[in-house]
């Protein structure tokens, strides 16, 4: 079948619109990179709204902007705090959610489905509603400003239990029965047989939970009072709303705050685009 000229025209128009969309999506990132490498003077005088103009970019790359925020503004410390908090939270989420999802799908005990329904109802509750009581709970445990306050409350997640349960349900019981006859315990079955089968969904949980922890702002703001465990999200928020740092330093700090997520996303873009399309969320 030959391509009609009219069809070719719409193809071109479609591509142009897609490129325009991509340009709009990328513009702020280009601005961030360009301005994080400018001098203060350049952020004021050497400006352009067109990324194809040389005036959009710095004359000479000012890498010491990054040094400034890491050394003088302690961003390196906050970055490692965030990394530690995220990794501990994610490990906790994966452990408790895998166990619970297995329990809710592969084991039979009284009240199982009723308990699961109650868990699902908690998904509707906005974070702001839980903020004040949870702060009082954390205070009475004397956890304020400690690592536990930033990690433990997030370790139980109804969403991830629900998500993993769907995959456990797809695994045939016969596999389990065979292992049971051989005398394997539930924990052995879970670790040896089930976990290898749900590696892809577990990665999804890892990414969504990591992203959620890295992005958390409200709760960490409330339970950190000193720099000790302050994560990068709170540090950047304080940096840009309280003090008046110069544009190039703000952009460099934004860059540091989004770097790990960007790296994970670009490495695993195929799984992550699929995961987000299928779950409808990012954690």
């Amino acid at each position: 079948m030959e391509i009609k000229p009219k069809r070719k025209l719409t193809e071109v128009l479609f591509l142009a619109a897609l490129l325009l969309g991509a340009f709009v999506a990328l513009m702020p990132f280009l601005y961030m990179v360009a301005n994080s490498l400018k001098t203060y003077g350049e952020t004021v005088t050497r400006v352009s709204s067109n990324p194809f103009s040389p005036r959009f970019w710095p004359r000479k790359l000012q890498w010491n902007n990054y040094l400034t925020i890491i050394r003088d503004d302690n961003m390196g410390h906050y970055f490692s705090n965030s990394l530690i908090i995220a990794l501990i939270t994610v490990s906790g989420i994966i452990a408790t959610s895998t166990l619970a999802a297995y329990g809710f799908s592969k084991m039979r005990f009284p009240g199982r489905d009723r308990i699961f329904t109650v868990l699902l109802v908690t998904l509707m509750i906005p974070e702001t509603v839980l903020l004040i009581p949870n702060f009082l709970i954390i205070s009475s445990l004397r956890w304020v400003d400690r690592l536990a306050a930033l990690t433990v409350p997030f370790m139980g997640s109804a969403f991830f239990i629900f998500f993993l349960r769907q995959f456990f349900k797809q695994i045939p019981d016969a596999l389990m029965e065979a292992a049971k006859i051989d005398g394997a315990s539930h924990l052995t079955i879970l670790v040896r047989i089930m976990v290898p089968l749900i590696r892809a969904p577990l990665f999804t949980v890892f990414f969504l939970a990591f992203n959620g922890s890295w992005n958390a702002l409200q709760w960490p703001m409330v339970v950190t009072q000193s720099d000790r465990w302050r994560p990068i999200s709170v540090a950047v928020a304080k940096y840009v709303t309280e003090a008046g740092p110069e544009t190039q330093l703000r952009m460099a700090s934004a860059m540091v705050a989004l770097a790990p997520i960007l790296v994970i996303f670009l490495i695993a873009q195929k799984q992550i685009t699929e995961a987000i399309t299928n779950t409808g969320m990012k954690g």
Partner: protein
């Protein structure tokens, strides 16, 4: 062991059940359930308890419903409000009951229930609307102001994101080289931490003449704008509307330019995400429908209107509800982008609650506000579930 007595089917079932019950299951779900109970379920009741007290860091005097009275103006207004809400809920229950009975018994139209239900609903809604100016003048202005912000925020984001998302997804819905690259680029704004992205937008839309947004405005021959620091409403800026003090006038101002700027940020974050969810929906439409339309000689717009959009209605519905509920929960981007110069014109309820708690240390009052937010989100979720169970599918 089991040799005694007759083996009946009932006994067999009993025994099967007993052998198949894993009490160990409780151990498996215990860690997660304990955590979710302590930090996710118990706090809801605790909030309710806190909201009944004067509570500034430490618990103070028991106030009963006084925090709610202060929010809405007086106990009388609170009572009327409760009556209006009950009327809406009661009316809905009556109508539901009628549906159920009609399904069982086709002959009876049950006109009484129909009229009663509709009347109760109507009276409830009218009551609610009439109460608003009263609540605004007697109660805490922040409450209705922040709700108005949230409603504008929903209206100014969800329809646009649906439009952009649908357009992009239709264009993306073909096999071509580089398709995955586009998907990755469109998803970037959504995946990236909102704190970092908002930090960039705060600069892009700064009031300084050299900011990106003002460069664009100036290249069009206009004067630089205040963007995130402009508390005036769009309709005030364009037509000079809404300069009075009454509740209706506050609506006539339209969303502030500062809020509109935050809406632009929202479009940027969500357009690509909506596109991805839409393309998921598009891929589930049977191709035979399009083939049939082609045979009938239907063009692009006819196919779009009669096949694509109706078939996508479940996706559209999902995204709409997600968007509306999302605006009630929105926090991070607004916290970064809000500016004191905008005088609260960008602050939805979630932000007001946070400041009442965190800056003013009014734990009790903030808890009462939080429960109102919870009630609204709950109502929206229930509405979503109800509409979902009815047929939003496939238009026919």
């Amino acid at each position: 062991m089991y040799g005694r007595g007759k083996l009946t089917l009932g006994k067999l079932k009993e025994r099967y059940k007993r052998l198949n019950t894993d009490y160990e299951g409780f151990l498996f779900i215990a860690p997660a359930c304990l955590l979710i109970f302590i930090f996710g379920i118990f706090p809801v009741f605790y909030t309710l308890y806190i909201s009944l007290f004067k509570w500034r860091i430490k618990r103070g005097a028991f106030l009963g419903l006084a925090n709610y009275g202060e929010l809405f103006g007086s106990y009388g207004i609170l009572l009327l409000l409760a009556a209006a809400v009950m009327a809406v809920i009661g009316g809905t229950l009556l109508l539901n009951g009628r549906e159920k009975r009609r399904e069982k018994n086709h002959s009876s139209p049950l006109r009484g229930l129909l009229i009663g239900g509709k009347a109760a609903q109507a009276a409830g809604w009218i009551g609610l609307i009439l109460l608003l100016p009263l609540i605004y003048s007697r109660g805490d202005k922040k409450l209705l102001d922040s709700l108005r912000v949230t409603i504008w925020y929903s209206l100014g984001t969800v329809p646009f994101q649906l439009l952009f998302g649908l357009t992009l997804s239709i264009m993306l819905n073909r096999e071509f080289k580089g398709r995955q690259a586009f998907r990755v680029i469109y998803l970037l704004p959504y995946v990236v931490p909102s704190v970092a992205a908002a930090t960039v937008f705060e600069r892009l839309f700064s009031l300084r003449p050299e900011s990106f947004a003002n460069q664009v405005v100036q290249s069009l021959g206009k004067a630089p704008l205040q963007w995130l620091q402009e508390p005036k409403g769009l309709l005030t800026l364009w037509f000079g509307w809404g300069t009075g003090e009454s509740y209706l006038q506050t609506w006539l101002q339209g969303p502030s330019l500062a809020l509109a700027t935050i809406m632009i940020f929202n479009w940027w974050v969500f357009a690509g995400y909506y596109a991805l969810i839409f393309s998921n929906g598009l891929s589930q439409i049977p191709t035979q429908l399009y083939d049939a339309a082609k045979v009938d000689g239907a063009g692009f717009w006819t196919t779009l209107r009669n096949i694509t959009i109706p078939m996508l209605s479940p996706t559209t519905f999902f995204l709409t509800m997600l968007g509306i509920i999302g605006t009630f929960k929105a926090f991070n981007q607004i916290y970064i982008l809000r500016n004191p110069a905008a005088r609260g014109a960008t602050d939805p309820l979630s932000i007001q609650i946070f400041f009442t708690f965190f800056r003013k240390s009014r734990f009790g009052y903030a808890s009462a506000m939080a429960l109102i937010l919870f009630a609204i989100v709950l109502a929206l979720t229930v509405l979503q579930q109800r509409l979902m169970s009815k047929d939003v599918h496939y238009g026919d």
